[in-house]
């Protein structure tokens, strides 16, 4: 139903992110409500946010505040209840062209080898098996999984599975990358490594990234802008620019003075929201 026409498949995809062109993602008063057992539950309300081409934006907020919902609105997996969501200037209705999405949990297919997992995107979009595998092979190499093409996901470590998932997303050459706490399940060292890999692969791709995390440190290491969200129902509380030079070294940059300064500034804003969420949690537990 939402399958893009086959003519979309050739290498370079939707509108290339020309500088000066309008925002790639635009949320304009977007609100999402879910009907649940206990009545109507508002996940996000009145979101205003725009992301430019090639920009790396991190959304931080307390756990469970509705950050992931924001991504599902942009990806078209969930329609907005109110307000407008635009990708490449077009209202989101189904899955927009050029969107890639990396989920929090492993979404690689356990019954396919690494290579066939990565080849899935091109195959879905109408490439021949040979072409798809050819492109997949290139991306498997780029994420550092050469030699593991014929392994099944369960034979890989958590970090390697993330690499496979990253290649699976990037092989479609998305102009919009949505990432939902993709590294939260990894141990600290592997996470640092994957952050570096992500920055390396992203630089020069021209893709706009929206990266959801509850880890402020991760947000600051990666992003150009950090958006602090309120306790649920989430909306934008404040936006901070991250004045750190690129290329960044994910491990080293945390130790610099500038990093700590921004950290303190953003944390001041985030702390209240975390506090609110904690109190609610305590109230629920009581």
């Amino acid at each position: 139903m939402t399958k893009p026409p086959p003519s979309q498949s050739p290498p370079s995809q939707p509108p290339p992110s020309e500088p000066g062109a309008g925002p790639v993602i635009e949320l304009d008063g977007a609100t999402k409500r879910f009907r649940s057992a206990g009545g109507v539950h508002t996940a996000v309300r009145d979101l205003h946010l725009s992301v430019g081409p090639g920009e790396f934006v991190a959304l931080v907020g307390p756990t469970g505040c509705g950050k992931s919902t924001t991504l599902s609105l942009v990806s078209g997996l969930e329609p907005a209840s109110e307000g407008r969501v635009l990708v490449h200037g077009r209202e989101v209705d189904g899955i927009p062209d050029g969107v890639g999405y990396m989920f929090q949990n492993d979404a690689v297919m356990p019954w396919r080898t690494v290579l066939d997992n990565v080849a899935a995107g091109p195959r879905y979009r109408g490439a021949s098996r040979r072409d798809a595998r050819e492109r997949a092979r290139g991306w498997v190499a780029r994420v550092g999984l050469t030699g593991f093409e014929s392994y099944y996901p369960h034979q890989l470590s958590g970090g390697m599975r993330k690499r496979a998932a990253l290649a699976q997303t990037l092989v479609n050459e998305p102009s919009v990358m949505l990432m939902d706490e993709p590294f939260s399940a990894l141990d600290v060292q592997t996470r640092g490594l994957m952050q570096d890999e992500l920055l390396r692969l992203w630089s020069g791709s021209g893709a706009a990234v929206v990266f959801v995390t509850h880890d402020l440190e991760e947000a600051l290491v990666l992003a150009d802008r950090v958006v602090v969200m309120t306790a649920g129902p989430a909306t934008v509380k404040s936006v901070f620019a991250v004045p750190l030079d690129r290329p960044r070294d994910a491990e080293e940059i945390r130790l610099t003075g500038e990093f700590l300064d921004v950290y303190r500034e953003v944390w001041d804003s985030l702390r209240d929201e975390v506090q609110i969420t904690r109190e609610r949690g305590a109230g629920d537990a009581a």
């Binding site: 939402t2 399958k3 989920f103 297919m109 899935a120 879905y124 099944y152 369960h154 479609n172």
Partner: protein, 269 residues
């Protein structure tokens, strides 16, 4: 060292098993010769004679191989049709909310019918030939597979479906590359018991009325108070079922290569 221990363990397990079987057979044989009436309870040596007789001289209904092949054909045909129907309908209903809402009460009702009784009906409908047995086997297999395929299609990880959609999959592609593979382990699990059902269906069908087959042979043995014949028929059917089980396990191993070994090595009873 460790291999030695493992080897000794396996030998020990097999040895004790063999000893148990021997003890059972010997005690049966001895008690049948001295205390209980072999006319009712038969005894291993008689059963063996009956089996040997069937395979060398043939049965009262003709060659034993003919009976075996007849029953097997019915079971396999019923199994194949039932499994195919169960998988297709199970997956479709598992994915289609509307369709499954519509069909749910009917399926519950049909499932509640003691289906084995349908064998009598099928004899009336399809006569004494193969069709009535295939129909019985089909009905038994279909429901066993259907419910598993339905459940399997329901329990597909939403993450995987969403991921495929983002990657560009259309509805059919999601069905074929995500839903079917993830339901496969559910479906295969049901196929093990389903082949047993297929054989039961075929035998019961033959038992109810037939002109050939192992079920008829057993029915005939019952009619002539030939306990050894009933046992012998039982043994042949058991061997067939075990062979089919072995084949299915091979197939499962092939189709589920991607699964972690630990999950594939479930204890089979």
């Amino acid at each position: 060292m460790r291999r030695d221990i493992a080897l000794r363990r396996t030998l020990g397990v097999h040895g004790v098993r063999a000893a148990l079987v021997a003890a059972w057979l010997v005690s049966w044989e001895v008690s049948a010769r001295h205390w209980i009436d072999p006319f009712y309870y038969s005894m291993p040596s008689k059963i063996w004679d009956r089996l040997a007789g069937w395979f060398t001289d043939g049965t009262s209904q003709g060659s034993i191989w003919e009976q075996i092949s007849y029953t097997l054909q019915e079971a396999v045909a019923g199994f194949a049709l039932g499994a195919a129907g169960g998988v297709v309908l199970g997956v479709l209903l598992g994915r289609g909310r509307f369709l499954s809402d519509v069909c749910a009460p009917f399926i519950k009702a049909v499932n509640a019918i003691p289906r084995i009784i349908l064998a009598s009906l099928f004899i009336i409908w399809f006569g004494l030939g193969m069709q009535s047995k295939i129909a019985t086997a089909f009905v038994l297999v279909f429901f066993a597979v259907f419910f598993n395929a339905f459940q399997g299609a329901r329990e597909v990880d939403r993450n995987l479906v969403n991921n495929a959609r983002i990657l560009g999959a259309g509805r059919l592609q999601v069905l074929w590359t995500i839903v079917v593979p993830s339901a496969t382990s559910w479906i295969l699990a049901s196929l093990h018991s389903a082949f047993g059902f297929a054989i039961i269906g075929a035998i019961v069908g033959e038992y109810t009325g037939a002109d050939k087959g192992l079920g008829l042979l057993i029915n005939h043995s019952q009619g002539t108070f030939d306990a050894a014949g009933i046992y012998a028929g039982m043994i042949i059917i058991t061997v067939l079922a075990l062979l089919a089980e072995w084949l299915l396990t091979l197939l499962e191993g092939r189709l589920l290569r991607w699964r972690p070994a630990a999950a594939g090595h479930d204890v089979q009873i």
